[in-house]
Point group: C2
Chain length 360, copies 2
């Protein structure tokens, strides 16, 4: 995929797959002829709504790093291909967040915006996730968003950055246009204050996290067509927040603080203070989400679901490409069911797929 | 390496590497001519003592799954190529264990027994480790050794199997000869009773583990020569025992029991009882080894050492082939320094190396 041209071979492979897996769509030949003619004519082609839905779901099914694929068939796909202005995109993303949150019963959802077309690249959101916390490296907030925070600043975002300040959404409509920023309306960001089921001091740490992980830095590639903005969300798995976001030394780096509060000696490794602090953080995060009525998976359950997914896929005659190093959770790896086996490799050319987005 | 013949190309590559990395050994050409002539004549060649030591050390350096490689240069290599009878091998392995234990200051050590030669395969120890616990699947002991335990039984080993019964050493001198078993003398097996620094009931679980991990299921391959028996030991890293050996559901499977004793509800995942039990098991194992005065590394320290190893190797102009999924510890992965980076791939043909041993 380059310059917005759809590769006819990719288009054909996808259309054949769609008609093979969805026999109710009828024979592939007429559609194939039509699509190839459209590509010859315009450089690209337009997916039917069913093709788009199928393509997005299979892109999830193909996500080798994703542990949560059991429910790939129920992904809700929002067809927003007609949406391309920055304001409209921001508004549609806000709506995505409301629908994804769904009153706490988080719903897997993808919003597909305008594709790249020859001479007309699609719009690009510039945030890694729709909701994220701003950060200034080694100073405050989430170091992960330091670059995006700096970009927001350059674009004129004036808000002071605290430990958990929600970054504005930054949308760029076209390479020639300046990106624009939009504050997230209050009803789009649901946050959970982190408390601990037994340790009262945990609340004093003032930790919080937002409810819906809506990944927006990947493009959706289907049948030779690139949708550069296709934010998607599932629900959080506890370790994403409790181990990585709050625990990583390159993120909120909270293990030393939690360990000190636990009364552990952090000068030596013998107490395994990092391991203890990690468990308490994850217990607290899981407890807090449950209490707030927000869907969250623990890593043991999600790992078992993934093995069920493999069984189902194998019964359907399909391999399950998977990347061990992403599937195995960042804590208690060997205590989860996914640790003790090998997986089918993830072919680099596997499509449909969520892929790293090329810069303009 | 097959039929005990040394591949001349492998021999040449190794001898060139040895002379390149050890310039004090002089020019390679005379030695190379001599070795190739010996291969032409006999099908194989004999390493000098220095070549053997270098080969074994580089095999450790090349072990992509090993986190403990910082000290590869100090590996002590026992040249036991003249040893090939079953009794002699057993006696030499017992001596290996005494020297490896070294009064608790565990010393990395490899014992290299007779190589495969054309028409004369070298002897093979049949145990996965020199010290291991017998097991009967789903009944008692360590399920990992079920096959070896069954073999010992067939060979007439009469001892009753308890939870921690040391398996005899099983040595096969030649494919045509019946393997023989040898009970390990008391002074070769040092065991550590597992207690917990704060939880008194831990001692009641009656857990123990032996002090020296002496891996004996791999062959050492150097310059086209295969040494089928080359048991080696380092010191234990706490997670090998606390997470894997005692915790894995396919091993001693102790997480449910530990969690119950901790008063946790094991019916739901919300308490993260597996994660808690894992931490307590590892705290107990580390504490017990320290108290017994036996060298043991924690996974945080060993991970930092590995990054030092990478720095040193890169300064020496060498890549560090490594397998992420083996390096990252089985608990608290993302809290260790080795989690957050990529590694050079491990070429399948990398030699010298410890490799899976072919059956006779
Ligand atoms: C339903 C609940 C879901 C769960 C519990 C889940 C779980 C996970 C986890 C644990 C990861 C690894 C994250 C990391 O280590 O940074 C991941 C990655 C990923 N997931 Fe899922 N997921 C879910 C839904 C989805 C959905 C709906 C999609 C797409 C439609 C998706 C696509 C992906 C992709 C593309 C990655 C790799 C991201 C990257 O490369 O940065 N997941 N998922
Ligand atoms: C000095 C202390 C040492 C430490 C802390 C250490 C640590 C480790 C660890 C944690 C593993 C992974 C084990 C597993 O997950 O099953 C490993 C594997 C390995 N180590 Fe080391 N090691 C040490 C010494 C040695 C020595 C002396 C050698 C050889 C001379 C060696 C060669 C290997 C090999 C070949 C493997 C892979 C084993 C397999 O494939 O089953 N290590 N090491």
């Amino acid at each position: 995929v380059r310059d917005g041209r759809a590769d006819p071979d990719d288009a054909e492979a996808f259309l054949r797959q769609f008609h093979r897996e969805r026999p109710e769509a009828g024979p592939v030949e007429p559609r194939l002829r039509q699509a190839l003619a459209e590509i010859a004519d315009t450089g690209t082609y337009t997916h039917t709504r069913d093709e788009l839905v199928f393509g997005a779901r299979v892109a999830w099914r193909n996500a080798g790093r994703c542990l949560g694929r059991l429910y790939w068939q129920s992904l809700v796909v929002r067809d927003l291909r007609h949406v391309s202005s920055a304001e409209q995109i921001a508004a549609a993303c806000f709506d995505h967040l409301r629908r994804g949150h769904n009153g706490g019963r988080v719903r897997p959802l993808v919003s597909v915006f305008a594709p790249d077309r020859p001479g007309r690249p699609g719009p690009r959101g510039r945030n890694g996730q729709l909701v994220s916390y701003a950060g200034v490296r080694r100073r405050v907030g989430d170091p992960k968003t330091a670059d995006t925070t700096a970009l927001a600043r350059r674009l004129g975002w004036p808000d002071p950055v605290g430990e958990f300040t929600v970054l504005p959404l930054i949308v760029q409509e076209h390479p020639a246009l300046r990106p624009r920023w939009f504050r997230l309306p209050e009803d789009t960001v649901h946050e959970v204050a982190i408390t601990h089921p037994r340790l009262a001091w945990f609340a004093e740490l003032g930790l919080r996290w937002h409810a819906v992980p809506a990944v927006s830095h990947l493009a959706l590639e289907v049948g030779g067509v690139c949708y550069p903005s296709a934010p998607q969300n599932g629900w959080y798995m506890v370790t994403e927040i409790g181990a990585r976001n709050l625990g990583d030394t390159g993120r909120y780096d909270l293990l030393p603080e939690v360990a000190r509060r636990l009364g552990l000696d952090t000068a030596a490794e013998d107490s395994l203070w990092r391991d203890r602090a990690l468990v308490e953080l994850n217990v607290a995060v899981l407890h807090s989400f449950r209490r707030a009525g927000v869907t969250m998976a623990d890593h043991h359950t999600e790992a078992r679901r993934f093995l069920t997914h493999i069984e189902r896929e194998e019964r359907a005659g399909r391999a399950v490409p998977a990347d061990w190093s992403w599937l195995v959770p960042p804590i208690s790896g060997s205590a989860t069911a996914v640790f003790h086996r090998y997986y089918d490799p993830v072919p680099g050319a596997l499509r449909p797929a969520f892929v790293a987005r090329l810069p303009w």
